[in-house]
């Protein structure tokens, strides 16, 4: 009898879990569909330069985004469309950056995954792998110096990027300063075409944590529920003052390095292993199993998002492209310094 009542009335935690999972799923779905659209635009020759997708990594990425507050700091990487959306980026801005709109966050100066709004705590990556971590450290350090408490800074990295000196210096720096950094490693088995066996020798990337004196968390990156739980715990730990947190997620990149890459080097055994599961499918099964959504819901959401994306693309394509004659060709902000003398030095 008591049992029946409990079953009928879900606990607060269950409600919270449902809401978070649904929210995260929505960002995953939006990211997947957005990525698909970029891939289509790429194939149609409508995008300048490369297109880099997060297919197979949406669960992890969305978990990061939904675990953060808007007042936190987030420096996503190439496969983080889901996390970006969850952190507050609009579909429109993502499209603008890929199409090089003058109204986009980077005004056509930088493109594709290189986008962000630093003053909103959303840091735009430079390409050099590992370089963003210490920048996040700096923001966290500054906030502490300014007396702002409770901020967390999260940034994402691939298995391959752990081989960079920048990764090492920055994670160590965060540990020495005991900063609330959450460093998420997406171990997706390859760095471009290079398998992890040519990248590191430790059994698990989480083995690196002890050497830095930071907490480690491991998670199945194909499992949204697990990602939410683990990333949530890591973010919570950082927020509670427990110092840097290293999260290692195992998964498989379900696309090429970029859309120019057919990724025929990926071992079929991996594709057929649990790592090769599509996290979006896994999440949908969870929603259905928990009765948080049914097939009709899923179809409707898909449809709605498609509409939103198509509309955004149509709108952005009417936006102005950057105009070289309007452009201020000036890389420093102190205009008085260049006004003074430097007309151009032969440029």
């Amino acid at each position: 009898m008591l049992q029946t009542v409990l079953d009928a009335k879900p606990s607060e935690e269950t409600i919270a879990a449902r809401d978070t999972t649904l929210a995260a799923y929505h960002f995953m779905l939006r990211a997947r569909q957005l990525d698909d659209k970029f891939a289509a635009l790429y194939r149609a020759g409508k995008i300048h330069g490369g297109v880099f997708l997060g297919r197979g990594q949406e669960a992890l990425s969305a978990a990061v985004g939904v675990s953060l507050k808007k007042t936190d700091v987030f420096a996503p990487l190439i496969r983080d469309a889901a996390g970006r959306l969850a952190f507050g980026e609009t579909i429109e801005d993502a499209v603008r950056n890929y199409l090089g709109s003058a109204l986009g966050p980077m005004r056509g100066r930088d493109g594709n995954v290189h986008r962000g709004k630093p003053l909103e705590g959303y840091f735009p990556m430079i390409s050099h792998l590992g370089a963003m971590i210490s920048v996040v450290n700096g923001a966290l350090f500054a906030r502490r110096m300014k007396g702002i408490t409770g901020t967390v800074g999260a940034t994402c990295l691939g298995d391959g990027a752990t081989s960079t000196g920048a990764f090492h210096e920055a994670l160590n720096q965060a540990a020495v300063e005991q900063l609330p950094l959450v460093l998420i490693l997406a171990d997706n088995q390859y760095a471009y075409s290079t398998p992890t066996s040519r990248q590191f020798v430790c059994a698990d990337l989480a083995d690196k944590a002890a050497g830095y004196g930071v907490a480690a968390h491991s998670v199945d990156g194909t499992d949204l529920a697990a990602c939410l739980k683990t990333v949530g715990a890591a973010v919570g730990g950082a927020r509670a003052g427990e110092g840097p947190q290293l999260v290692v997620a195992k998964l498989l990149r379900l696309c090429g390095h970029g859309e120019h890459d057919d990724s025929n080097y990926v071992d079929p055994k991996l594709k057929n292993s649990p790592l090769g599961r599509d996290c979006l499918k896994v999440a949908e099964e969870l929603l259905v199993r928990e009765k948080w959504a049914d097939a009709a819901d899923l179809a409707r959401w898909r449809h709605e998002i498609t509409g939103e994306i198509e509309e955004a693309v149509a709108r952005v394509r009417r936006e102005p492209a950057p105009d070289p004659y309007d452009e201020k060709w000036l890389a420093i902000s102190s205009q008085h310094l260049t006004d003074l003398h430097d007309d151009d030095a032969g440029s």
Binding site: H48, D110, H128, T194, D323, A345, S347
Partner: protein
């Protein structure tokens, strides 16, 4: 049959591997995958154990090349993009470049840097940083502009006993084709007259040679004969050939795709002004990229770098003085 600039680079590496057992290639994804641009396609299969994938560790990649060179090997290091070579900058300029001078032991390594702008490349996949390397003593910096030079200069780079920064232009990779590979070539250190003319000397290198040629063709229609010097190597610089050309034309325009402050165009003008002042009938001029990062959007990118049109405009100004 025709062969691209990129294929020529592959062929040169195949031949270097074939002819010299001391040669090996090390770089990200250069193995089974054949490299981000496919410049090492099939080489790992053809030369087992001699074409190796490296971790994403540019500093250690270069350091390891130096150690292997000390032991008598002749490593070729592929940087995935020139822009990422900056992560290995310390090992290049402070380790590799100083070894011979400090110890008398040569350091025969070749660093292949896919460089220069392409549409949509953006700030971190487009840089032209040859001048950064040329400023440091101890490095040879090459900038081939043709399929033939890509081939022969890469072979010569591997044979040279010094660290060579081999700047291969990504824009030329697929755009540029030749009938066949060359059987002989100018030695490194000699510039080439890419087009003869008597009215103006345009000094250029790498992709800019082709923009200059296009400008020259346009100006020919207006009756001007432009001489184009393709530097081929920016360090050492063949001042003699430049000077001889300026002696003929009395006018000089230097064109580079790099940023305007310092660099190749400044170096050329400084040399001609100080050593060949009397040869100049009018002030020497230069044309560089703008002093900002390289923009992503093609509209901006095409305004950022010198183009045939911009060269023609600059040339006309000089010609009309």
């Amino acid at each position: 049959m025709s062969i691209t600039y990129l294929e020529a680079i592959r062929e040169a590496q195949a031949r270097a591997l074939r002819d010299d057992p001391r040669v090996f290639i090390y770089g990200q994804d250069v193995g089974a995958f054949g490299g981000a641009f496919k410049a090492t396609k099939n080489l790992a299969k053809e030369f087992p154990g001699r074409v190796l994938d490296s971790p994403i560790s540019e500093d250690a990649m270069v350091g390891m090349a130096v150690g292997a060179a000390i032991e008598g090997l002749r490593p070729i290091i592929e940087m995935q993009f020139a822009d990422f070579s900056i992560v290995g900058f310390n090992q290049i300029v402070n380790q590799a470049a100083t070894l011979f001078w400090r110890t008398n032991v040569p350091c025969p390594i070749t660093l292949r840097l896919p460089f220069g702008g392409t549409e949509g490349g953006g700030p971190f996949h487009s840089q032209s940083i040859e001048s950064i390397y040329a400023h440091y003593p101890g490095l040879v910096v090459l900038t081939p502009a043709t399929v033939e030079d890509a081939y022969s200069m890469l072979l010569e780079a591997v044979a040279i006993d010094d660290p060579v920064i081999f700047c291969e232009h990504k824009f030329l990779y697929y755009h540029l084709k030749a009938e066949k590979l060359p059987s002989e070539a100018l030695p490194i250190g000699k510039a080439r007259i890419a087009r003869e003319g008597r009215d103006l000397t345009v000094v250029a290198y790498s992709a800019m040679v082709h923009e200059a040629l296009e400008a020259a063709a346009e100006l020919a229609g207006e009756g001007w004969e432009i001489e184009i010097v393709d530097l081929r190597s920016v360090k050492p610089l063949d001042t003699d050939t430049v000077m001889a050309s300026v002696a003929r034309t009395g006018r000089l325009l230097c064109v580079g795709e790099a940023w305007p402050w310092g660099g190749v165009t400044a170096e050329i003008i400084a040399r001609v002004a100080s050593e060949g002042f009397g040869l100049l009938d009018v002030p020497p001029q230069r044309l560089n990229a703008k002093d900002t990062p390289v923009p992503y959007h093609p509209n901006l990118w095409m305004a950022h770098r010198p183009t045939a049109r911009a060269i023609a405009v600059a040339a006309r100004k000089i010609l009309r003085r």
